[in-house]
C-alpha cells in the first residue's frame, strides 16, 4: 500500500515537471508579447507578464494584414476539412463495406501512396498549378489536399468495426441506393470518427508552412504561418511585436483543441496501435 502511494506521488512530480517544460514556452511567449522590446533585451531579463500586450498586438495589426491572413487560413482549413471529410468517408464506406472488382488493388495502390514523401512532388506540383493558373489562389491551398490516403485508410478501419452489415442490408431492402445508404447509415455511425479526422485535418492545414510558402506568392494574400514568418523577417528586432503575433496566431487553435481535444488524443493513440 505504501509503495503504491510513493509511486503515485513520484509520478505526479515527474508529470508536473513535464507539464512545466511543455507549457513554459507559451508563458515565455506571453512575457515577451506583453513587455517592450528593450525590456526583453535588458539584463537580467524580465520574467513576469508586463502591461504592453495590447500595444504590441496593435503593432501587429498595423504591420501585417493579420485578420486577412487569419480569414484566408480559416477558409483554407475549413475548405480542406469539409472536402476531406466527405471524400474520405465516402471512399472509406465503399472500401469497408462493399465488394467490387479491383477493390483490393485500388486499396493497395492507396496504401503505397503513403510512402511517397510530399516533397518529392513539390516542384512539378508547383509547375502544374502554375499551368492551371492557380498560383496565389485559395484553390491552390484547398484542391490538392481535398482527399488523402491517411484519412481513407483510417476511416475504413473505423467503418469496418462501426457499421453493422445488417443496417446496410435493411437500408437496401427499403430500396436505398449506395449514396442513400452512405447518407442514412454511414454518416451517422461514422460521426465520432469524422470528428477526429476533422480536427486532425484542420490543425494540419492551419499549421502548414511549406506548401503555402510556395504557392501563395502574392504578399497581400498570405496564410497566417507565412505572414507570421514575414513579420519575423522584416521586423526581426521588434521581438515584442513578433511574439504578440505568434501569440495571436496560436490562441484560436489551442482554444478549439482544449474544447475538443480529449477524444482527439484518445483517437490518435488508438490509430497508432492499429498500424
Amino acid at each position: 500500500m505504501r509503495t503504491e502511494k510513493v509511486r503515485e506521488v513520484t509520478s505526479h512530480v515527474v508529470l508536473m515537471f513535464g507539464v512545466l517544460v511543455s507549457l513554459f514556452p507559451f508563458y515565455w511567449m506571453l512575457v515577451m508579447a506583453s513587455n517592450t522590446t528593450p525590456d526583453i533585451f535588458a539584463y537580467p531579463p524580465k520574467l513576469l507578464v508586463g502591461s504592453h500586450l495590447l500595444e504590441n498586438m496593435r503593432n501587429v495589426l498595423d504591420n501585417i494584414d493579420f485578420f486577412g491572413a487569419m480569414l484566408l487560413t480559416l477558409f483554407a482549413s475549413l475548405g480542406v476539412t469539409v472536402l476531406v471529410l466527405f471524400f474520405d468517408s465516402l471512399a472509406a464506406f465503399a472500401f469497408a463495406k462493399y465488394e467490387f472488382p479491383g477493390r483490393n488493388l485500388l486499396f493497395g495502390i492507396l496504401l503505397v501512396t503513403f510512402m511517397i514523401p510530399s516533397q518529392l512532388a513539390l516542384v512539378p506540383q508547383f509547375v502544374t498549378l502554375a499551368e492551371f493558373g492557380w498560383i496565389g489562389s485559395l484553390k491552390a491551398l484547398i484542391i490538392p489536399g481535398a482527399a488523402n490516403a491517411f484519412g481513407i485508410f483510417w476511416m475504413r478501419q473505423y467503418a469496418k468495426g462501426a457499421i453493422p452489415d445488417e443496417l446496410i442490408s435493411a437500408a437496401k431492402v427499403d430500396g436505398a441506393g449506395f449514396f442513400r445508404q452512405y447518407l442514412t447509415v454511414g454518416l451517422p455511425v461514422l460521426r465520432p470518427g469524422l470528428a477526429f479526422l476533422g480536427i486532425f485535418t484542420f490543425i494540419n492545414v492551419w499549421n502548414d508552412y511549406l506548401w503555402p510558402l510556395i504557392v501563395m506568392t502574392d504578399p497581400n494574400r498570405l496564410t497566417l504561418q507565412v505572414a507570421l514568418q514575414q513579420l519575423n523577417g522584416v521586423y526581426g528586432t521588434d521581438y515584442s511585436m513578433v511574439m504578440a503575433g505568434a501569440l495571436m496566431s496560436v490562441i484560436p487553435l489551442i482554444g478549439v483543441f482544449i474544447i475538443g481535444g480529449r477524444h482527439f488524443i484518445a483517437d490518435i493513440a488508438a490509430g497508432a496501435m492499429k498500424f
Partner: protein, 344 residues
C-alpha cells in the same frame, strides 16, 4: 486481385438477384462504389502520380522554370553525388534526427510510465502534453529562437547568472543543431508519450502480478517487462520519427530564412528539404531540386527497409510469452542470488 475477389465469400451486401438469362455486369453494378473512391484517385493522379513521374523527367533536365528545358541526362545526379553542400545537408539532417529522437523517445517512455501509474488528473496531463504538438512550428520556433538567442536569450542569461560563459547557440554548427533538435523534441515528446501510454495500457496486468509475486522491483519490472513488451509501439514511433526527421524544414527556415542563408551560419542548420527548397524556389534550379527530391525518397525507402527489418518476424503473442517467461526466470534467478545466464 479481381480473381481473388471472385473466389472470396459473396459480397457483403447482395440482395440483388442475378438475372436469370445473363449474369449482371459486375463492373456496372459497382459503378457507385467507383464514383465513391474516385475523388482520391483523380486528385492523386493530378497532384501526386503525375508530378512524381514529371519529377523524374525534370531531374534529367536543366530548367529555370521559365525558359527551355535542356536535357542533361544524369548530370544532375552525378553533380549531386559530388556536391559537398548536399552531403552536408544529409549529415546535418541525420545529426539533428539523432539529437532529437533519442532523448525524445526516452523522455516519452518515462512520461508514459508516470502517466500509467498516476490515476488522477490524467486528462489534464494528456491535454497539457499534447498542446506542443498542435501548435504551429513557426510560432514555436520563434519562441525557441529567442530563448537560444546569442546575446539576450533566456538560456544565455541563465548561464551568465550561474557564472558560466555565454554560448553562441545560433552561430555555431552544433549550437544550431541542438536548438533545432530541442524544438523537434519539445513538439513530439508528448505525442510519443501518449502513444506509449496506449501501448502500456494494452499490456496485461497478469504479467506484472506474476512478477510482483516473484518479488521484482519496479525498476526490474520496467526494464524487463514494460520495455520489451512495448517493442512494437516503440518501433512505430521510431518509424514515424525517422520519416518526420528526414523531412525537417520549417525550423531552420524560420530561424535563418530571413537572414538570407537558409542553413544559418556555416550552413549548420541546412537540412535536405531546406536545400531542396533553396535550389528549386530560391535559385530556380528546378531540375536539381527534383534530383534532391529523389535522393530524399531513396533515403526514406532505405530507412523504412531498415525499420521493417527491425520489426521483421514480429509476432506479438509469441514475443509476449517469451518475454514474460524470460523476465520471470531472470527475476527468480536474481532473487536467488545466482548469476543469470541466457539459456539459449
Amino acid at each position: 486481385m479481381a480473381v481473388s475477389d471472385a473466389l472470396r465469400s459473396p459480397a457483403v451486401v447482395s440482395t440483388q438477384e442475378p438475372a436469370p438469362s445473363k449474369p449482371p455486369n459486375k463492373f456496372k453494378q459497382a459503378f457507385p462504389q467507383y464514383v465513391a473512391v474516385s475523388p482520391f484517385f483523380v486528385l492523386f493522379a493530378v497532384f501526386g502520380a503525375f508530378p512524381v513521374f514529371f519529377s523524374i523527367w525534370l531531374s534529367f533536365h536543366s530548367w529555370d522554370g521559365i525558359g527551355q528545358m535542356t536535357w542533361v541526362g544524369l548530370e544532375q545526379y552525378s553533380y549531386l553525388l559530388t556536391d559537398p553542400t548536399f552531403w552536408k545537408s544529409i549529415t546535418n539532417t541525420l545529426i539533428i534526427w539523432v539529437l532529437s529522437t533519442v532523448p525524445m523517445l526516452l523522455l516519452a517512455l518515462v512520461i508514459a510510465n508516470s502517466l500509467h501509474n498516476a490515476t488522477r488528473f490524467r486528462s489534464f496531463y494528456r491535454i497539457a502534453y499534447f498542446i506542443p504538438n498542435i501548435t504551429s512550428v513557426v510560432a514555436v520556433t520563434m519562441v525557441f529562437g529567442s530563448v537560444f538567442s546569442n546575446n539576450f536569450g533566456l538560456l544565455n542569461a541563465f548561464l551568465t547568472s550561474i557564472g558560466l560563459d555565454k554560448i553562441e547557440w545560433l552561430s555555431q554548427p552544433w549550437g544550431i543543431k541542438i536548438a533545432i533538435a530541442t524544438i523537434v523534441a519539445w513538439r513530439w515528446t508528448g505525442y510519443n508519450a501518449i502513444i506509449f501510454l496506449a501501448g502500456l495500457q494494452a499490456i496485461s496486468s497478469d504479467i506484472y502480478e506474476a512478477a510482483k509475486v516473484d518479488g521484482a522491483s519496479s525498476r526490474q519490472q520496467f526494464w524487463q517487462i514494460t520495455v520489451p513488451l512495448l517493442r512494437p509501439v516503440i518501433l512505430f514511433t521510431a518509424v514515424t520519427s525517422t520519416i518526420g526527421g528526414l523531412q525537417i524544414f520549417t525550423e531552420s527556415q524560420v530561424l535563418f530564412g530571413a537572414s538570407g542563408s537558409i542553413g544559418g551560419p556555416g550552413d549548420g542548420g541546412l537540412t535536405i528539404v531546406s536545400y531542396l527548397y533553396d535550389n528549386a524556389f530560391g535559385s530556380n534550379q528546378f531540375g536539381y531540386g527534383a534530383a534532391i527530391g529523389w535522393a530524399l525518397f531513396i533515403l526514406i525507402v532505405l530507412f523504412s527497409i531498415i525499420n521493417w527489418r527491425l520489426i521483421g518476424g514480429r509476432d506479438d503473442e509469441r514475443i509476449t510469452k517469451r518475454v514474460a517467461r524470460r523476465a520471470q526466470r531472470k527475476i527468480a534467478a536474481e532473487r536467488a542470488g545466482t548469476e543469470y545466464t541466457d539459456a539459449h
